[in-house]
Subunit: 418 residues, 2 copies
């Protein structure tokens, strides 16, 4: 089955937006055992029609995103209808959805808004639970008059609208189009605390010797997914091998991110976590609270960016900061233990480091960071030093990842590397 | 001048790699006043030749990335040579570069490696200072035999190799191809606190009446860039109009994000900000500390996810929480004023709301949030209620944006809408 993507949007061509939709859709298709044969990205306007026409003539399935909104440069709906020779009519259900959406926000429903309720005759409306413009599905029979055999899916551009629509509307239809008895499997082993090249070193040679296995790596947010695809036999053989070699580093086998795993492991034990962050400035706690249900395991967080804040809220002695420096093993220990005491939590993670671009010294260059973990119940406080030079956002990401991994290992009784 | 990109790589189609090269090149071209007319992404293999052939027939310039490496599925160099009917010969300088590169790393130079030293006759070698495979430039005269007028640039796929090559080799050649005395301008007006459809309503009709203006909108992180492009006259006329209609909502005219603007405005006044977050869980403070230099304006942050944390660290009376609910104007006020007092800052932003998916009530559905701003110097504490239903990450983004915008307005003496 040949699948193509057409992503529309001037912002994609100008580079104002990074095309994360294309990668995400590629991953979802790979999980179905399908590979995207081509992505075409064009600016809003006349080029949209051209790109859809070319893709529809080549492919079995075309996923088209963007250009469904209310403005004049949103032409995807009209262009597709024109290409297939379909007339448009106002859809009552979509109109009602738009009215309710704007009423809830106390905003008037403008004429421009109502353009989004125009539906080509024969197209199936795909509800948009997270925005205004609905998606549209054009079954292949609508394209038959053009001599094409392609199913067309029109999707909204914003990822928060596109993703649920792909999951709930597109994927079930694609599965129905796939041949019966497909025994393809895809397993993702999510690995953290070890770099891609080390993973390759430990498993690639032996995985490549497994006949019929398709091996891939997806670099994630501080982790790497080892993707094992193919028939069920080779995939399971490969998964066993990876588990044997890298088991301690496997965070999940179902694409859950580390923060989800951590919240669930804490919740299962009825335990609480508190955080004390300096250089990550709240990024760790924000990741934890990205997880729905995190309020059962997380109640208190401190961002002690200033030294006075470390002293005032966590009880870190200013003299300790003066003698060892704010970025030190001693201060990380005091922050973690102070945070544990003040919050009453079962575990406290503390972070102090130099995010840069300024503030580094020869002994502690930009990127140096200490992470402390203190726990109730007589467990020793553990501090580890890491070095993540580079941009601030990457520093925050890798540091918060290392901190959460320390706690995951403590919860699961896995050694925290020295 | 029509520019197209062709990005090759199976990892791009599988979604294992996000195509950041395309966005980065788009930005570099926009800075030259050029817009990428199309991006085509294909997996390694036969599709590469097809994509290059189509783009070369349409465009004046084609930037092709990926597939220059040593492995069998790297076919970009050979495909381009075949398309243009050019024979290949081993290049002495590239061979020497490869040998020196591998010698430095104590690795042998394999036959596969030496494929990268094959250069089509007439193509110009573009040195790769950060990797092994050189880039190749095919001036338009090499394509004339095919009836094309396109300059082709073959670039390595890894961003750390591609970016310096674009800057030092491609951009100077593109500038030389542009007509003299080009007076194109691009202005970005970054707008927050008002939705895209409201912006459209207020300015689009009159902007579309300005001859020669290219108008675009880029949806950002909680803001919208109005992009005005064209010759200097119409662009400045348009910018004046947008400033008149939407001036209070313009955050920056140089693409600075709200957190940068806020940190700079606070630093200019020598003032400090503290934060107290419930439902955003540290996302507001993380955005503020994303800005280099934020330690001059931000010292204390609290994540008071639990009610006890609000009471213990901010002095919010538990009785107040019981009588009004944790998500209320009263508690937002008490959090902001408590945070101001405890931190000693000049301004305190407090956030309490329901991120969902659970915890909503009829009167306060999921997405309801109160933002409080307390300030020193006898200014009244301001609380505003917002409603951002949808995914948690979006809720956090829009809420933190609204909070920072309240403070930006206070600092600049602009009314905070009711």
């Amino acid at each position: 089955m040949r699948i193509e993507l057409v992503n529309t949007g001037t912002e994609l061509c100008l580079g104002d937006t990074i095309n994360t939709n294309a990668a995400w859709i590629g991953q979802r298709m790979a999980a179905l055992g399908l590979e995207v044969a081509r992505q075409t990205i064009v600016p809003d306007g006349g080029a949209v029609r051209e790109a859809i026409e070319e893709a529809a003539a080549r492919a079995d399935v075309v996923l088209i995103s963007g250009g469904l909104g209310p403005t004049n440069d949103d032409v995807t709906r009209e262009s597709t209808a024109e290409l297939l020779g379909l007339s448009m009519q106002q859809d009552a259900a979509v109109t009602a959805h738009l009215e309710s959406y704007f009423n809830k926000r106390n905003k008037p429903v403008s004429a421009a808004t109502l353009r989004q309720a125009m539906v080509p005759v024969g197209a199936v409306v795909m509800d948009n639970a997270f925005g205004t413009a609905p998606g549209l599905y054009f079954p292949a029979e609508l394209a038959a008059a053009r001599g094409w055999h392609s199913h067309l899916f029109l999707l909204p551009g914003p990822p928060r609208e596109l993703k649920p629509m792909v999951e709930s509307w597109v994927e079930p239809r694609l599965r129905a189009l796939l041949p019966d008895g497909d025994t393809r499997r895809v397993i993702y082993l999510r690995i953290t605390g070890i770099g891609e090249s080390d993973i390759v070193e430990k498993v690639e040679k032996d995985l490549e010797a497994i006949a019929g296995l398709e091996l891939g790596y997806c670099i994630g947010k501080g982790d790497v997914d080892v993707r094992l695809a193919g028939q069920i036999g080779p995939v399971e053989q490969a998964a066993t091998l990876v588990r044997e070699r890298l088991g301690d580093c496997i965070v999940s086998e179902d694409r859950r991110v580390l923060e989800e795993v951590l919240v669930q492991e804490l919740a299962a034990r009825g335990q609480w976590l508190a955080t004390a962050e300096s250089c990550t400035g709240g990024y760790l706690s924000s990741r934890i609270t990205d997880v729905s249900g995190s309020s059962r395991v997380f109640g208190h967080g401190f961002i002690t960016y200033a030294n006075e804040a470390k002293a005032q809220h966590l009880g870190v002695p200013l003299a300790l900061i003066e003698s060892h420096g704010a970025v030190s093993e001693e201060v990380a220990t005091a922050m973690a233990e102070g945070c544990l005491r003040v919050s009453g939590a079962d575990h406290a993670l503390a972070i102090t480091g130099i995010a840069g671009p300024t503030g580094g010294t020869e002994g502690k260059p930009v990127g140096t960071v200490f992470v402390g973990l203190a726990s109730k119940g007589g467990l020793p406080t553990v501090v580890r030093r890491y070095y993540y030079p580079g941009a601030r956002d990457r520093f925050k990401l890798l540091t918060s990842q290392a901190a959460m991994e320390m706690l995951r290992r403590r919860l699961l009784g896995i050694t925290i590397p020295g």
